[in-house]
């Protein structure tokens, strides 16, 4: 693995402040009822986990995740305008308003999406990796999975299958301490989550401080190379959610010890600050560049909000019905057929 260059580090900073700005804006818009619905799970606090690990990928690799997907999409280069429009359910959204916050995806970026059923995307990840291997391509599938999801049957079946078929998957367990309101130790018999790999004979790359993008990158690079050549790899990212589980999560209001814990993480393990300190200690005064990235993030997100709010909502019956099925000549459709979907 090559050490990250100055350009890379500066670009990571750009990505991380963009995500933070985007997520905090979503939070505010939700409070103002300009984003509606019941599910909005933010990536604030997790930035280094996604940025550092995806920096180890090349363009042809694949990515899949759960519902905490805004940051993942932005890192891969999705247009913030299309992402914000999706938050608002607009036609111009990346999923045409059908999917919302939990279902971002981008075919052009090999981003196979965010999924809302805990664990449900894990066998899909194994399947995507199977397709790569089947075709003789050496692309890897980077798969993000929560700590809570590692207790679900989907996780165990998928890991095992990736092991017996030597599938090129990097399983990244984003351990942010909680699945909704349940601490890891109350949900998992094995609290060192990466060790679940052992049960399936999968190579674990251990536990990483995922508030430090450089450490994340270093380990992810090794794991990606391993997956490309040999088979599945597991990494555990230790991170923290700044905005609770999701917008309907009131635990921070209810529990003082939780907000104290949050304050502690923000004060001592803030991923953006850690990266900034690294860059400054290596390259001296880069304040102007960093400030430029911050200003750009503010501008880009503000523009995305403007764009999204000016866009149209899907409103017709055709908008509703479209894309439940692929249009196909092999399907018999007549006036009397029921349940075939519309073209």
């Amino acid at each position: 693995m090559a050490a990250p260059t100055k350009e890379m580090l500066l670009d990571w900073y750009r990505q991380m402040v963009l995500i933070r700005e985007f997520e905090e804006t979503c939070h505010r818009l939700y409070e103002e009822k300009r984003i509606t619905g019941v599910y909005l799970h933010l990536y604030s606090g997790h930035e280094a986990s996604g940025v550092g690990s995806m920096a180890a990928l090349r363009k042809t690799d694949h990515v899949i995740t759960a519902y905490r997907d805004h940051g993942i999409g932005l890192i891969l280069g999705m247009d913030p305008k299309a992402v914000m429009a999706e938050m608002m359910g607009k036609k111009t959204g990346s999923s045409g308003g059908k999917g919302g916050s939990m279902h971002l995806a981008s075919a052009e970026h090999n981003f196979w999406g965010g999924y809302a059923i805990v664990g449900g995307h894990l066998p899909l990840a194994a399947g995507i990796a199977l397709a790569s291997k089947y075709r003789g391509e050496d692309d890897v599938t980077m798969t993000y999975v929560g700590d809570g999801a590692t207790n679900n049957g989907y996780f165990h079946e998928s890991l095992n299958m990736s092991a017996i078929w030597d599938l090129p998957v990097v399983w990244i367990i984003e351990n942010n301490g909680y699945g909704m309101g349940t601490e890891v130790a109350r949900a998992s018999g094995q609290v060192e989550l990466h060790r679940k790999a052992e049960a399936y004979g999968i190579k674990s790359f251990g536990r990483v401080d995922a508030q430090n993008a450089l450490e994340v990158y270093a380990v992810a690079s090794k794991a990606v190379e391993y997956a490309r050549r040999k088979g599945p790899a597991v990494i555990e990212h230790v991170t923290y959610r700044y905005r609770g589980h999701g917008v309907s999560d009131k635990q921070y209001d209810a529990r003082d010890d939780m907000s104290a814990e949050l304050q502690e993480w923000m004060a001592t393990r803030e991923p953006i600050k850690i990266l900034r300190d690294c860059i400054e200690s290596a390259y001296g005064d880069v304040a102007a560049i960093l400030a430029g990235h911050e200003a750009d993030a503010a501008r880009i997100v503000a523009e995305s909000v403007k764009f999204a709010e000016a866009s149209e909502l899907p409103a017709t019956y055709e908008d509703l019905m479209r894309n439940a099925y692929v249009a196909s000549d092999l399907v018999h459709k007549s006036e009397g057929s029921v349940g075939a979907g519309i073209d």
Binding site: T36, G37, V38, Y39, G89, K90, G93, S95, G97, K98, G99, G100, S101, M102, H103, Y115, A116, I117, V118, G119, G120, G148, A149, N151, N152, G153, Y154, G179, M180, G181, T182, R186, A187, S188, Q251, L313, P314, A315, T316, Y317, D319, L320, M321, A324, V338, G339, G341
Partner: protein, 328 residues
């Protein structure tokens, strides 16, 4: 008799709490039921009152929630296992359909599985496709388990109590939209108030058309009935309350009077509650039928996130009233 408006959530909580006080073998398990106080706050205060032994947080392991309940029930406990939402019960469908519902049958009556699965159900609020189901009919498909779906607080109270006390497995769904909805409960309600499993209820009398519904559909039917009354059409609203067993006597006697029927449901139209009721009516009430039987259900499509098309997909009172107008 004096009555007080109580939200359905409170009525369910009260029934569950009273049953836990009454019978030491009744316990609850599920995701976030204990420390978080229940995702829908149904089990608020339970951990404090009953402790960790009887109020058990589980990991996000639906397959095990479904099956552990069966094992515990076989071995003499009376589990009330909660699926945070019914969407996640799909992961446990095998435990429910193949074990809860069949274990008695395939050992020819040797065992029983007196358990209750509780699950919050329903569409709406931009919850998006995979979190937007009211799939009660899927579970009611399987003989061996009963399915209850209350539409108001008092029914929820009496139905849940019966479900817990009965020795058969019951899937009990709670419409998320109805949780906060207040409806009257008598002040001096008897703690043994039980609604027999499979007993429906007439929620409004009328002679012109029969509206058959359950759970949230009852609200839409009642709203439509009020609207229709202004145009001189009197609708009778039959709340079946249980999808298994079905109280068809109630439907038939209403239909004999009205000779017309609209079936209302929150779920998808194909292979549905509406299909079942319509089939039974035409088989058994052919001589009384004066018009085609109509069904109001969700549109036949996964539910989208975006709010206007989401509303377009959902049933509502207007759609019910419109369907009635086509046949009266």
């Amino acid at each position: 008799m004096a009555a007080r408006n109580v939200a359905m959530r409170e009525a369910i909580r009260r029934a569950l709490r009273e049953e836990m006080r009454r019978d030491e073998n009744v316990f609850v398990m599920g995701e976030e039921v204990a420390y978080w106080q229940g995702t829908h706050r149904v089990t608020r205060g339970f951990l404090e009152e009953f402790g960790e032994r009887r109020v058990r947080d589980t990991p996000i392991s639906e397959m095990a929630i479904g099956g552990v309940a069966v094992g515990a029930a076989l071995a003499g406990l009376r589990p009330v296992a909660e699926f945070m939402t019914i969407n996640f019960a799909f992961l446990a469908l095998d435990a429910i359909a193949n074990h809860a519902a069949k274990v008695r049958y395939f050992f020819d009556g040797m065992f029983k599985a007196p358990l209750v699965y509780r699950a919050a159900s329903g569409w709406g609020n931009q919850a998006t496709a995979s979190h937007s189901h009211a799939p009660e009919p899927i579970f009611a498909h399987f003989p061996g388990i009963y399915v209850g779906c209350p539409s108001n607080s008092l029914d929820a109270y009496g139905m849940l109590k019966a479900s817990i006390r009965d020795d058969n497995p019951v899937l009990f769904t709670e419409s998320i939209a109805l949780y906060p909805k207040p409806s009257p409960m008598p002040d001096d309600l008897d703690g043994d108030y039980l609604i027999p499993i499979g007993k429906g209820d007439i929620k409004r009398e009328g002679g012109d058309v029969t509206l058959v519904a359950y759970a949230r559909g009852v609200d839409w039917a009642l709203q439509a009935a009020r609207q229709l009354a202004r145009d001189g059409v009197e609708a009778e609203v039959v709340d079946l309350r249980w999808l298994r067993p079905l109280d068809m006597d109630l439907v038939y006697s209403s239909f004999k009077k009205t000779n017309r029927c609209v079936i209302v449901e929150e779920s998808l139209p194909m292979y549905s509650f509406g299909s079942e009721i319509a089939a039974l009516l035409q088989e058994n009430m052919f001589d009384y039928m004066d018009a085609p039987i109509k069904r109001v259900a969700a549109e036949d499509v996964p539910l989208p996130y975006s709010k206007e098309i989401e509303l377009l997909a959902l049933p509502n009172a207007q759609k019910v009233a419109d369907a009635v107008k086509e046949i009266v």
